[in-house]
């Protein structure tokens, strides 16, 4: 089963380079503070500027909460992030979907930012798909077990 990706775009009146720098380097300044993973609101959101870099939030006390990682770092054109947040907005390294962001020059100081969040089928399971995956640890059954284990571990 494939779920249609979320596709959104916005145009900003800055160069491609600046759009990429602001998107990645100042995420803590524009990200909705209501959407945090840690117990406390974040002080900053960090995208480490390299392939394999971490993507995380950090609160006032310096406590870091991971969100995912950088899969492709190609300034100022393209960014591919591994989004490892489950539907409950909690980090799960086994639950990876992809967020691709493309920065397309649309004039000397105008950039179209195209975002695609894909792999969303991992947020659920179609019955046929599940039947095929039941034996695999990475399948639905394994996922449910991990969910359940998480719930039973004292925070």
């Amino acid at each position: 089963m494939t779920v249609r990706p979320v596709q959104r775009q916005v145009t900003v009146e800055v160069t491609q380079e600046r759009a990429f720098a602001l998107f990645t380097g100042a995420m803590g300044s524009w990200w909705n503070p209501g959407h945090h993973v840690g117990e406390r609101p974040f002080a900053d959101v960090v995208v480490e500027p390299r392939e394999g870099g971490r993507w995380f939030e950090v609160d006032e006390g310096g406590v870091e909460s991971p969100w995912g990682s950088v899969l492709v770092w190609d300034p100022p054109h393209r960014l591919l992030l591994a989004w490892q947040l489950d539907a409950g907005w909690a980090h799960d390294p086994h639950h990876t979907t992809e967020v691709e962001v493309r920065f397309v020059a649309d004039g000397p100081a105008r950039t179209r930012v195209e975002l695609e969040h894909r792999g969303l089928e991992r947020y659920g399971a179609d019955a046929d798909e599940v039947a095929a995956q039941l034996g695999a640890d990475g399948g639905w059954a394994g996922l449910l077990r991990r969910f359940a284990e998480e719930l039973q571990v004292p925070a």
Binding site: A26, G124, A127
Partner: protein
Amino acid sequence: METRRDALAALGEPTRRAIVELLADGPAAVGVLAARLPVSRPAVSQHLRVLEEAGVVRARAVGTRRLYALDPDGVAAARAVLDRFWDRALTDFADFAAAATTTPAGAETGPAPAQPSGPSGPAPLKEETT
């Protein structure tokens, strides 16, 4: 998001997990599930009600029976949430980028304080040209 948290909570109970794993093989009626589980039929019905309320399973009437299946809208719900989420996030980003155009070049790695632009309105765009 709340729905999915409820779903996780609903799945914290072993019998309900077993029911979901059985339903992963395909839709089934209460009696069929009860026959394959070490609990009574009323107990299975009760668990199904919890799972249904949490959005994990969905029931449909087939003749006089009710058939239960995993709810594919679990994905649809997640997608809808993310669609709204990114719409808002990109709007916030565009607002921030618009405000940040008055920031001196080289300051884009931190929160960008608005630069005083004089009484005549917004300052001209200052771009880093490297």
